[in-house]
């Protein structure tokens, strides 16, 4: 049964009152409001500033608990579809050793870190330098090597670097030009590689559950957090990815089971869904 969908905010964490953080929120990546990237190295006096936020981001029992609960099933989908695509044996340690992965809109690194532990060589970018600061600090604490950078994906296109796996999770619904964004991230996929996208569908059900349910009824999110009109239909996501030369391979929904308080991968695409596309 569906209860509510997962969101990203269109404003950085620091601008949101702490009392508003009771729901499923991660800091937003908005392609069109990208500011010039600041220095990407963490200076000592910055560490104190970031560490408080880092503890909040990464406290699995804290404010972000609902987000942490959502995460395992998204990672499971990425892991299982990539193991199938690249013929990797999940029983082995570091099953994805030797494969490069780009996480677009990485937030505090909640997806980047687990995937780095599974063996991917992870690059993760975000528009918020605060998020990148948090993510760098935490990766160092976890003893993980992840290339974090505050930059828009267009900047990566200018280099010749391409990735075996590109993730665009809960990002698409926040960009002004969906087609341009999908074209950019799609072109970052190396030949033989794959992309996993996750976003919110534009249906009456998502309007009821995700917009009114989460914002007005449950108060999980501040009212006005989301613009339902920017939610993306699976057909639109697929068309955008095809435009960059990818072929859509799989489509799955994410459902919330109220009775078991668990998110599960399902065939219900009406609210949250994930898409797998590959490049020949």
């Amino acid at each position: 049964m569906h209860l509510v969908a997962l969101y990203r905010l269109n404003k950085p964490f620091s601008e949101v009152g702490q009392h508003e953080y009771t729901g499923l929120i991660t800091v937003g990546f908005n392609l069109m409001i990208v500011q010039p990237p600041p220095s990407t190295s963490v200076l000592p006096d910055e560490v104190a500033k970031f560490s408080a936020i880092a503890d909040e981001w990464w406290d699995p029992q804290g404010k972000f608990k609902p987000l942490h609960k959502f995460n395992p099933e998204r990672i499971r989908y990425v892991r299982d579809s990539m193991a199938a695509h690249f013929s990797r044996d999940l029983a082995q340690p570091n099953p994805f050793h030797g494969l490069s992965l780009l996480d677009v809109g990485c937030g505090g690194g909640l997806i980047a870190e687990p995937l780095a532990r599974l063996g991917f060589n992870v690059t993760a970018i975000d528009a918020s330098d605060k998020n990148i600061g948090v993510a760098k600090l935490h990766a160092a604490k976890s003893g993980l090597e992840i290339n974090y950078d505050c930059m828009p994906p267009e900047q990566l296109l200018e280099s010749s670097q391409r990735f075996d796996v590109v993730l665009a999770l809960e990002v698409v619904e926040h960009v002004a030009d969906v087609t341009a964004f999908l074209n950019t991230v799609g072109r970052l996929v190396a030949p033989g590689g794959a992309l996993v996208g996750a976003t919110l569908n534009r249906t009456l059900k998502s309007l009821a559950m995700a917009k009114f349910g989460a914002e007005y009824v449950l108060r999980w999110l501040p009212i006005g957090t989301h613009d339902w009109r920017k939610f993306v239909r699976p057909s639109e996501l697929a068309a955008g990815l095809r435009g960059s030369g990818l072929a859509v391979q799989d489509l799955k929904g994410m459902s919330y089971d109220l009775f078991r308080d668990r998110w599960l991968i399902s065939d219900d695409l009406d609210i949250n869904y994930m898409m797998l596309a590959t490049r020949a």
């Binding site: 609960k69 995460n71 395992p72 892991r79 340690p93 780095a116 532990r117 308080d261």
Partner: protein
Amino acid sequence: MTANPTHTAIATDIVIVGGGLVGGSLALGLARHGVKSTLVDRLPPAASISPTFDGRASAISASGQTLLAAIGLWPHLAARAQPILDIRVSDGPSLLFLHYDHRDLGEGPLGYMVENRHLREAIAAEITTNSALINVVAPATVRGFHQVADSAVVELADGREITAKLVITAEGKASTLREAAGLRVTGWNYAQTAIVATIAHTAPHNGIAHERFLPAGPFAILPLQGGHRSSLVWTEAQSRAEHYLALCDDRFVSEIAERVGAFLGELSLVGPRFSYPLGLQFAAGYVKGRLVLTGDSAHAIHPIAGQGLNLGLRDVAALVEILVDNVHLGLDPAHPTGLDRYERWRRADNLLMAGVTDILNRLFSNDIAAVRLARDVGLGVINNIAPVKRFFMRHAMGTVGDLPKLMRGVGL
């Protein structure tokens, strides 16, 4: 003190406090799936194997046996375990009794009787075999516990500290970590004592387990391997238990013979007598941040149905399944999705069993005529309606409910 000044801090992902049947099985279950752990125990590994340390035998349900096989313990135990072929429940001198024959289900034995010392030996041997994945810190006493961002810290009495992502307590009924974390328990004493002893007998037991409901409490005769030894669990009113425990061997055996009857022939006592005060204890929560309760630290129940260790093994199977999944997703082992699931899953099941054993004990540990008539009619009804009986038998075998994969013979 064994403090080594150069090693005052240990950093690890998963630490298990308590290396008994539950804690040891948990470390082995994780190791089987390539997950490392640090196992802390207050005794050196050899101490708990001594025959005088634990004279109990445990009824391992069919699903418990499946778990022991999955974590590598069963090969050590197969030749020393007694299959339970038949369970006979009778109400004191009443002629009405309940008779569970494994052939009614045709699925192999109802369970196995395994002596705890054999279980402890098997666990110790497997821990040694898996020493690359299980780091044993023993003897070491836990003094305290605290949590900081991203980790939990176990403080040892010798001054060392163990920092971990996840701390699992399998300390038993009295848990220092549970207290330190402020997890409350509820419960009560039964004013009963379990007297545990092993007897040898001249007539074979034929793999039959007996449970007699005597006015002071249930009296169980549990078959041990070889055919001519049985483990007794004699529930007695606390006030009278001391009297029986103080008797000389001859008098003690004659008290036993009076309760057992003649069907096992001549009886004699093997090894020392043990006694355990009985009570029900239930933790309000099983998870606090990065601390998880398992086994008796989470739930201690009446032995009337022989389910205490089986519940602990279900905790083990559920937690191994969840932690291995977390690790295989690259997640923090203390990820709340998994730990919340463990708490919800195990708490409901354990609470049900605690409730059932509590009611059975209240129903049967008395000699009130009306209660007696009602329960005898009840036993007779259960015995004569095949589907109802099969339902109760499957419960005894532990093959109902939402079983963890390792108890269904399914790989992770």
